[in-house]
Structures are given as structure tokens and as C-alpha cells.
Amino acid sequence: MSIKKVRQHPTQNEPLIFERSQKGRIGYRLPKLDVEETNLDEVIPEHLRRNDDLDGFPEVSEVDVVRHFTRMSTWNYSIDLGMYPLGSCTMKYNSRLNEKVARIPGFTNLHPLAPEEEAQGALELMYRLQEDLAEITGLPGVSLQPAAGAQGEMTGILLIRAFLDKRDGEASKDRRVMLVPDSAHGTNPASAQMAGFTVKTVKSTSEGLTDIQHLKQLCSEGGIAGLMLTNPNTVGIFEKNIREICEIIHEAGGLVYMDGANMNALVGVARPGDMGVDVIHLNLHKTFSTPHGGGGPGSGPCCCSAELEPFLPVPRIVKEGNRFRLDFNRPNSIGRVKAFYGNFGMMIRALSYIYTHGAEGLKEATETAVLNARYIAHHLADTFEKPFDSDCMHEVVFSHKKQARKGVHTIDIAKRLIDYGFHPMTIYFPLIVDGAMLIEPTESVGRQDLDAFIDAMKSIAKEAEENPQIVIDAPHTTRIGRLDEATAARKPILRWKPDMESMTKTA
């Protein structure tokens, strides 16, 4: 009964901080106020001040806080702990060196509105990163301002919109169709909508590629503003017809935006700019290993052709001699997408990653990421249904088709994988594969771990045949079991309140 014992351990039952709070506990000390005090009523009159004494706000000691978060942290799976094959998310190693350099006081204590001549190092760093990203993508115009991938997408689509409006003038209003493949990330159509486009869906072929015939047909219907294409696409396959696809869109008068979520499969091997792509966003937190941080911060630079460059967000960083300055005078710019200049802290980490790898290391990372995925694909192809025959790039998709016959579905396989010591893969995405399991090992996994993962998957498949219930009831080893998400959504409890039920629900 060791599992039960662990559950009862205080470290496994850390309450909410509000439940831990004890009146009068203190976790901080500030220097004493060193100026003459002004009568508070003169500074801020009572009617403008809060009178609730921050009711319900926690009162805890420093030790309480450290234990609280350390205990909770142990309930998370993480890259540092093991393989985290979350497809499309690129959970590669986040080096401590990057963390260290991002914390140099000359960076962290720098105010964004500091005079430019006093912030030359930051501007130079951004300029260097822009140059490297331009080289990696083959697209010369780079803005680091977008805060995350979805905002980078939106920026890219706004560039297209601004370009078309300028090129076509009034006639641009008849060009409002953004084509998005059925395999795309949900952020694509959502971003297109935010730029005022109507989304039309392009079908995929049975090979897992964009259906060229369907694409042509949609183009012949007219009004094409552009196409949003992920490449390698979301099933992990390179769109080998990419040049033809770009030509079709260009002929139809539109532009091609590439979702760079999977750029880690191409760095050093092929460049979107050479394929005919007009604009791409990158996820620094995927391809360039800035930490995912439990859901951010991301950073979503936007790289574009010279033609689109005048439309990039303001300010732009320009180099004049040996000096760097911010250029706000860009009459064609789409404007700002974020206050200040983007997630600068993530730019430091990304540049540190690039410099640590160098050109050869970046290529090695790409090759290894693809090799690892291909290795998994090879070993699991007989065990799980692999809906597409084509060679995969950095990630591989399987379905639950074989296991579903025994009542074991993707969700069950994912949960059972936890019992084997792995983080689950991405599940039920892309939507075009029924019961999809999208596996992305990244380059940060060695052969032993890949073999262990493959063994685990095979073992789960065997269990699905012989003892499906053990898979269906998984996970068995975590401190909590599967949670009732339906009830959570029906009667949402989204914050703590003083009268709330505590840790265990009493029936």
C-alpha cells in the first residue's frame, strides 16, 4: 500500500496558500521608510483608498512560501526530468547557461525607455539576433516584437493585409480569403480572423499533404489574400510541393505565410525564403529553446521578404555606423503589436542558444531531431496505426485505431504512458487524424531513452490487447487520478473563496 502512504504525506497534500495562511505571519522585510512622512489623507484621500484590508490575501512566512512552491513543483513533469514528447511543442533541453546570461544585471535592470545611447548593448543584441534569424529563414526583414507564436502569426497576417491594401488600393476589399489547411493549428484561423479575413479550409490528401487540386479550386473561386501553411506540416511531413503551392498562391495574387512552429526540422537544411514563402513566424520557445515555463513566456519573431519589410511593426532597430537606434518613422508599418520591443529576455536566451550551437550545431540539432522521430516511427509502425506512409521529419503521428477495437483510446494510452515515466505526447491533434498521437522526441533525447519510450509504447499496446482495463484506468502512480473535467467546465470554480471545500471532497 505504498502508493496510499505517499498520498498521505504532507508534501503531497500541499493546500492552497490561502488555506495555509495564518494571521500575522510575515514573509518579507523592507528597508524603513527614509523620507519624512506626509499625512496620507493629503497624498491619497480616503475615498480613493482601499478599505477592505486586502481581505483574504495570504499571510505566510518565507519558509512557508518556499515549501509551498517546492512541494507543488514536484507534482509537475518536466524536460529536466525526462522525455517530454509533446508533438508540435518542441520540448527540447533548456540550458542553464541561457538562464544565467539572461539574468546579467545589465539586461534585467534595463528600463525600456532608457535613452538609446545608454542601452546600446540591448539594441545590438536584438540586431544580432535579427541578422541570424534572417540568415536561418532566408527572409531579410525581421521583427522581434511579437510576444508569442500566435502573435507572430497575427503580425504576419497583418503584414499581408497591409501589403495587399497598399498594392491593390480599394480593390483589396475583394481579397479577403485566407486559406488554412484542415491540419493547421487552431491559432491560424483565429489569427486570420483577427486580421479581418474569412477563412476557407484546404483539404489534406491521404498522404498527409496539402491537396493541390483543392487548393487550385479554391484559388479559382477568387478573392485569395493568402495561405497559412505549416511546413513541415502538423503531421510531421514536409510539404514537398511547397514551391508549386507558393506559385499557385502568388499567381492568384495572394501571399504565403508559413507557420514556423516546426522550423526546428529545417534549421540549417532548408530555408523558407528559398521556397517562395513571403512571411514566417518563429517560436523562440520551440526552435531556439527558450524555456516553456509552464505555458510561456514565448517569443514569436516575424521574418519576411524585402517586399513586406516596410510593413513590420514599429519601432525597427537600425544600425548606423557602430550605433544602434530605434526607428519609429515607418509610415507603412502595421503599428505596434505590443508595448516596447518584445520579450527581450527570451531574445537573450535564443541568441545564447544560437551562439552555443554555431552553424554546425544548429544543423546537428535539426538532423538529430529528425533522426530521433524517424527512429520512433520505424520501431512503432507495426504496433500502432501510422496513418501516413511518407517519411516523417521531426515528429510522427500515430492513431489509436488498432487499440480502439479493445476500447483503448488515445487518451488512455497517453495516461498510461505517465505510469511508465514519460510525459504523454500531444493527443487528438492534428484534427484530421482520428485519435491522433503526435510524438516529437526532439534532439534532446538519447538512444536509451528512445528505446525505453518505444518499449513503453509497445508494452501499452500489449496491455491494450491483454488487459485493457489497466490502460483505461490509468494513471495509477500519480498523486491524483483522472479528473472530472466535464463537471469542472459545467460548474466552474475558478478562484478560492473562504468558504470553499478543502482538499478532499466528502461525499
Binding site: 514573509g27 506626509t38 513543483s73 532548408a270 516553456h292 529528425v370 517519411d391 475558478l494
Partner: protein, 448 residues
């Protein structure tokens, strides 16, 4: 490459297993003519000491970071307890992702739930999300949300909102037929002119007001919600200096429908403008129109309490182009930093830090006002920022302060308000000592 576990021999073996003889063959599906045939023009790999030296060198060129500074305007220098940065660097927090699998993500989900609660308590609102990119994008998303709820496109916003926030709003609403109208401020008080509220109409989606506003002036929010509601519009309050929540009456008590804020002040370094964290809170009745992730309570079959991401049907991965926003990755780790900061300071700490900001700024404001030639143009009450009118061009004065005295004295308002040539914005926080303030005052006196 030291981040890649496999040795060259292992790589060769693995290639052989999958039937290939070289790494090049891994990319057979990429047509030859679009393959890169040369190495990237990027530096040779650098060793750890080389990277550190290079970064130290770049950082040393950021001379502003070492100087006494009175800059605010949306980004603030505050003390952050040591444990904040230590705890967010636990592997389990910083090398995990969005908690899609709750059984192995309870640490993240529980702190998000605490973060949501803290944001509700601070703002006086009923529900809050798991974070937005920053204050500026949170405001833009709040306006889009108000437009969805009211099915109206007109927006009335105070002129005293952070100018960069307004620029972001313009970008976000450029293509959805938004009409932005401004409510001007009173030159006397520096706060919103009451008669400007007559611009509210039955076409208005929302009234947006920042408090403390860009000039540092605390807006009296009393009655604004009623005015907005009387025409069917929502009332949105923006806060760029979140420490003010420790002292000022929360917008929720003034009837706000949506409150957005920049949370950088809660233990997050300035870092040249990011990453920071956007706070977003609203009323329960609007929760299904809210952007972003939400964590909620759920139970397993044994009755154990846990947390899950919930109400996902609002989001892009389910609703695609009909989603409430395109946001996916948010600012998780920064929300964690804010959570740890707020819990460490606690009730008393947040109150004390807010009070110190108000007191120190009041002291500086009084001392500067006493200087001959200088004045405080706005009579409105302020928190930790205020506008100073100097006897001559503010840019010149600030330039001299910097060059001759090594002090960054504040922000010349001409950056955003070209006509306000003699005005500059001064911010004083708990990190500014009395000596620094007295020194600033002396130098201003000398330079006038």
C-alpha cells in the same frame, strides 16, 4: 554539441537501423532545389565562457542599468524577494509546458489557480485568467471582448492611457471597423474631463480609463461605470502600476466590467520591456467571452481535489476562427513569479510597499514643487508618478542630468505628447532612497 546526448557512433547505428547511410538522407522528402547547400553564415560554436564574456560585454554597454533612475511609464523598478527568482528556476516549473495533462501538471495548475485568485482579490473582480502577454495586449483583448459582448464597435478611451497601449489597440482593431474616440483630460487636474463622457452613446462598446493614468494621476472612478452602463457600454479599467492595488480602491468596487493590468511590478525584472505579464479580470457573467486559459477545480474519482484547464471551448484549439482570441502560449512563468512575489509579501507587505511608493513619491513631488522655476502642472492626486514642469525644455534638462550627474531623471513627455515640451514624468518607488531623491532635487535646482 553538448546538448545532444547521442555520440556519433550511436547516430550512425540509429541511421543504420532505419535503413539510411547518412544524415543527409533524412531530408530526402525536401526537394533538392530548395535544400541549403552551404553552411549557415552564423558564428562558429562558442564555449560557455565565450558566450558569457560576449553577453557580459553587451550588458556592459547598457549603461542605463547602473544609474539612478526615475523612469516609470509602464515599467517599474521594484524590489523582488530573492526567493522569487530561485523558485521560478526549479526545473519542474521552467521546463514544463502548458498543463495539458493535469495528472502530471498539478504544480502549474495549482499556482495558476492561486494567481487567478490573487488577481481577483487585487482588482475586486470575480474571475481572472491565467495571464496575457502584457498590459498593452490585455487592454486590446479587453476591448475586443467588450465589442463581442455589446456587438458594438465604437470605443471611448481616455487620452491619458499609456500611449503605447493605445498604439497596440489601434493595431488589434484596425480591421474590425472599430471607431476610437478619445476622452480628453482636464489641463488643471490631469484626469479625465467629466463632460467628455457625453461622447458615450448607444453605439459605444466600452469606456476605457487608466488609473493611475499615464501622468500618474489617480482617476476618480466613481460614477464612470454608471455612465457607461446607462448607454449599455462596458467599463474597462487599465492599471500599469500594479503595486497601486496595495493602496488604491480596486476597480471592481467602482463597478468595472473588465480590469486589465501590467503585472511586471510583481517581482518581474524590467528586462528592457519584457517578458512581463498581463492581468485580466472580469465579472462571472462574462467568463465565456474571456480570452486566455483558465484553471478550475476538479475532483478525481476518489474525491481528491485537483485542478484542470477549463472552459476550453472559448479557445482557438477548439473554436478556431470563432475563438475569443488567438492566444495560446501566455506568460506562465511570469505569472508564477507574480504569484510568488504576492504570496511572499502577503497582505502586509503589499500594503507597505504601496505605502512606501506613495510616501516617497509625495516627498519627491513636494521637494521638486518647492524649487523655483519648477511646478507640478496637474493638481490630481498621484501614486508613485507625477508630471513635473521644468523652466526650460525637459529633454535638455534630462540630457544634462544624465551627462553631468549620471541620473536618469524621468521621461520627457514630448516622446508621446510633442506639444508638452517642458513636462517630464518622474517615478519614485521604494527602490529610490532619500539620498537619491534629494540628489535629484539638488541637481534639478542647479540645472534650471
Amino acid at each position: 554539441m553538448r546538448y545532444i546526448p547521442n555520440s556519433p557512433e550511436e547516430r550512425a547505428e540509429m541511421l543504420k537501423v532505419i535503413g539510411l547511410s547518412s544524415a543527409e538522407e533524412l531530408f530526402r522528402s525536401i526537394p533538392e532545389d530548395i535544400r541549403l547547400k552551404r553552411p549557415l553564415k552564423i558564428t562558429e560554436p562558442l564555449s560557455e565562457p565565450e558566450v558569457i564574456a560576449l553577453m557580459e560585454n553587451l550588458a556592459s554597454k547598457n549603461t542605463a542599468s547602473q544609474k539612478t533612475s526615475f523612469l516609470g511609464a509602464g515599467v517599474y523598478s521594484h524590489y523582488s524577494p530573492t526567493i522569487v527568482d530561485y523558485l521560478i528556476q526549479r526545473s519542474e516549473f521552467f521546463t514544463s509546458y502548458t498543463p495539458y495533462q493535469p495528472e502530471v501538471s498539478q504544480g502549474t495548475l495549482q499556482y495558476i489557480f492561486e494567481f487567478q485568485t490573487l488577481v481577483c482579490q487585487l482588482t475586486g473582480m470575480e474571475v481572472a485568467n491565467a495571464s496575457m502577454y502584457d498590459g498593452s495586449t490585455a487592454m486590446a483583448e479587453a476591448v475586443l471582448m467588450a465589442q463581442r459582448i455589446t456587438r458594438r464597435q465604437k470605443v471611448l478611451i481616455a487620452r491619458t492611457i499609456h500611449p503605447e497601449y493605445i498604439e497596440v489597440l489601434r493595431t488589434y482593431t484596425k480591421y474590425n471597423e472599430t471607431e476610437i474616440d478619445f476622452a480628453d483630460f482636464d489641463e488643471e487636474t490631469g484626469s479625465i474631463k467629466q463632460e467628455e463622457l457625453q461622447k458615450l452613446s448607444d453605439q459605444t462598446a466600452c469606456l476605457v480609463v487608466q488609473s493611475p493614468n499615464f501622468f500618474g494621476v489617480i482617476e476618480n472612478l466613481e460614477g464612470l461605470a454608471e455612465k457607461a452602463h446607462s448607454v449599455g457600454a462596458l467599463f474597462i479599467v487599465v492599471v500599469t502600476e500594479a503595486i497601486s492595488f496595495g493602496l488604491l480602491k480596486p476597480p471592481g468596487e467602482f463597478g468595472a466590467d473588465i480590469v486589465v493590468a501590467e503585472g511586471q511590478s510583481f517581482g518581474i525584472p524590467m528586462s528592457f520591456g519584457g517578458p512581463h505579464v498581463g492581468l485580466f479580470a472580469t465579472r462571472e457573467k462574462f467568463v465565456r467571452q474571456m480570452p486566455g486559459r483558465l484553471a478550475g477545480i476538479a475532483y478525481d474519482k476518489h474525491g481528491n481535489r485537483g485542478f484542470v484547464l477549463t472552459l476550453a471551448t472559448r479557445e482557438q484549439h477548439i473554436r478556431r476562427e470563432k475563438a475569443t482570441s488567438n492566444i495560446c502560449t501566455n506568460q506562465g512563468l511570469m505569472a508564477l513569479a507574480a504569484t510568488i512575489y504576492l504570496e511572499t509579501l502577503g497582505k502586509r507587505g503589499l500594503q507597505e510597499v504601496a505605502l512606501q511608493n506613495a510616501q516617497k513619491a509625495a516627498y519627491a513631488k513636494r521637494k521638486i514643487a518647492e524649487l523655483e522655476g519648477y511646478s507640478i502642472p496637474f493638481s490630481g492626486h498621484t501614486f508613485n508618478e507625477f508630471v513635473v514642469r521644468s523652466p526650460k525644455n525637459a529633454e535638455d534638462i534630462l540630457e544634462k542630468l544624465l551627462k553631468e550627474k549620471s541620473i536618469i531623471g524621468g521621461l520627457a513627455l514630448s516622446r508621446y505628447f510633442p506639444e508638452r515640451k517642458n513636462d517630464f514624468l518622474v517615478c519614485v518607488t521604494e527602490t529610490n532612497t532619500k539620498n537619491q531623491i534629494d540628489n535629484l532635487v539638488d541637481c534639478l535646482k542647479e540645472l534650471r
